[in-house]
């Protein structure tokens, strides 16, 4: 009897994942059919299968597809990074943005654009930002994000910090990098400040095939690793001593989890700019729907992260077209009410 009930229960969890996949496919198709060049679904399909004219090819293959894939991969990466950080640090507030990693990336971009002159703004209209040297911005953003992540991990390892202290240290580091950013911007020319502020808005369109490919490889590997560790994460969420009693090397699992999660965050943020909140709400929403079992929480958080980011980007493109709103802001507009609703409603009782 227990077996049947358990099979039904597992079936329901798989059902939720299946629905997420379905929603994701629908959203991706919707995204593929929206953009500044009006293409009907038939043209889109034809361009995908047999190739279209030059304009259609560029719009689909060079603009829309990499943008959609960037959203899928970065959304999954940021959400699952938040999921693992929340588990490893045993804190529901842990996420790439609350641990200071995003702030550090923004500081790196500020250094590149303002101090090293990698970007400026030509016009005050949207889309007029000229990043002269995107590689420098990306590399510095990545370096500072990894620096913050390594600092957190080292404090945890060598300072013997408790998980609560690590979250506090992350908040302190984040505020330190924000202060650095403020000082740099205070003395900068207004055009450069405008350029860097624009960078921090986050934009999926920044990623071309190369960047998408790098993210795809890293996020896929990270997802595989996290999924393999889901039993260990379940053990850790049952209490640290319990996990040790079950043979889990808690320190090693925690350190490796934080490193991998930080790495995918650093890559996503440095390629696309700051996309906050997904790492926090993606896993928190799924916890309320699917529970704390990481065998289901990890894949479903990844899917929901992709779904939120892709939907937010598509709304950002269409809501007051041709203006493209900053995706980070739309993410919060879509995610926050949903999250608040789930907080009020409480956990799913089934």
């Amino acid at each position: 009897m227990v077996s049947n009930e358990y099979s039904r229960y597992i079936g329901r969890k798989r059902g939720v994942i299946f629905i997420l996949v379905l929603l994701l496919i629908i959203t991706a198709l919707w995204a593929l059919n929206t953009g500044s060049i009006a293409l009907n679904p038939v043209q889109v399909l034809k361009t995908l299968i047999t190739g279209g004219n030059q304009v259609e090819n560029v719009a689909i293959w060079n603009i829309r597809l990499p943008r959609i894939l960037a959203g899928l991969v970065a959304g999954a990466g940021l959400s699952v990074a938040g999921c693992v950080m929340q588990n490893n640090l045993r804190n529901p507030l842990a996420s790439p943005s609350t641990l200071g990693i995003s702030n550090a990336a923004a500081f790196g971009a500020n250094v590149a654009i303002i101090l090293l002159g990698a970007g400026t703004i030509a016009n005050t209209g949207a889309g007029q930002v000229i990043i002269n040297n995107p590689y420098m911005v990306t590399i510095l953003a990545f370096l500072f994000a990894m620096l913050a992540a390594l600092l957190i991990v080292c404090l945890a390892k060598f300072g013997g910090f408790t998980p609560e202290a690590i979250v506090l240290a992350g908040v302190a580091l984040g505020s330190l990098f924000t202060a650095g950013t403020t000082i740099i911007q205070y003395f900068a020319e207004d055009v450069k400040v405008a350029a860097v502020v624009f960078w921090t808005f986050g934009d999926l369109g920044r990623a071309a095939w190369n960047e998408v490919f790098i993210m795809l490889v890293l996020v896929t590997m990270a997802l595989g690793y996290f999924f393999l560790k889901s039993w260990d994460y379940n053990a850790i969420s049952s209490g640290e001593e319990t996990a040790r009693g079950l043979g889990v090397n808690v320190d090693r699992v925690r350190m490796a989890g934080m490193l991998v999660a930080s790495l995918i965050t650093a890559v996503a943020v440095s390629f696309l700019g700051i996309i906050a909140f997904i790492g926090l709400i993606g896993p928190q929403i799924m916890r309320r729907i699917i529970g704390d079992d990481h065998r289901f929480l990890i894949p479903s958080s990844a899917l929901l992260g992709s779904l939120i980011l892709l939907a937010a980007d598509t709304v950002a493109k269409t809501v007051i077209a041709p203006v493209v709103l900053p995706v980070g802001a739309v993410t919060s507009f879509l995610g926050a009410p949903l999250f608040l609703y789930l907080l009020v409603r409480g956990y799913n009782r089934k």
Binding site: N234, E241, R244, G245, G247
Partner: protein, 250 residues
């Protein structure tokens, strides 16, 4: 012997917690570790299964030196239930299945689920299988975490104050259950306890800790008014009721 502790010592920097700890546990025995708060009872349990690494001494489990076993090997031989339990959103079935983690390679097998069902049957937990841990009462949760330790199929169970937050009925239920499993599976249990009378009804052997060392160890004969007064700094009287000694504070 199923568990042998020899010359164990543990200290935090600048503060010695345990020293000269030695005792031998035979299969089928329940041991109670007694002593005041801070005497080192929980530390002793954690040293036995290497959650804390003792600076000195050796622990053997069925002739295997605990320090030389891998994490997983150790978890297959020793089940540990900590004093504090987390209530997360995992079903009772999955929480107990987690006890199979030391045996699982990639994913839980049919055999693993079979073991979980057997343990649930033994502990009368079948009706709770699909309940979430954060919906259970204290007594129910305590049974579930004991079930998780049993699903590890260990030779030795280490339980840190399993009855401290339970009402009278649940206390009795939990100790009877431990006793039943230990006898039935011919394993051993080492349990820290505050309630002397409960310990007297439940345990076969006792370790009395005072200031981090063993004050006395042995059977019921060591639970004397003098020993208790010396360990707990409290004068007591011992009366016998229905062949079981009763400790009554004076």
């Amino acid at each position: 012997m199923i568990l042998s502790v020899k010359d164990l010592a543990f200290k935090y920097p600048g503060r010695s917690v345990l020293q000269d700890i030695a005792f031998d546990v035979a299969p089928g025995e329940c041991w109670a570790v007694l002593g005041i708060n801070g005497a080192g009872k929980s530390t002793l349990l954690k040293c036995l299964n290497r959650i804390l690494k003792p600076q000195k001494g050796v622990v053997y489990i069925r002739e295997n030196e605990v320090l030389k076993l891998s994490n997983l090997e150790l978890a297959q031989k020793m089940g540990y239930v900590s004093q504090h339990q987390e209530r997360n959103r995992i079903t009772v079935f999955d929480a107990i299945l987690l006890g199979r983690r030391p045996h699982i390679k990639w994913d839980a097998s049919k055999h693993d689920r079979q073991v979980v069902r057997q343990v649930m049957e033994m502990l009368d937990l079948e009706d709770y299988a699909m309940r979430y841990l954060d919906e259970l009462s204290g007594g129910e949760l305590q049974k579930v975490v004991i079930a998780r330790a049993l699903a590890q199929q260990p030779d030795v169970l280490l339980l840190d104050e399993p009855t401290s937050s339970l009402d009278l009925k649940n206390q009795m239920e939990v100790v009877r259950l431990i006793k039943k499993v230990v006898t039935h599976n011919h394993i051993a249990a080492v349990v820290t306890m505050h309630d002397l009378n409960l310990a007297l009804r439940f345990a076969d052997r006792f370790v009395m800790l005072k200031n981090g060392t063993i004050f006395a160890t042995g059977g019921r004969e060591i639970i004397t008014a003098e020993n208790i007064e010396s360990v707990y700094s409290l004068p007591v009287e011992i009366k016998t009721f229905d062949t079981i000694p009763l400790v009554i504070p004076r």
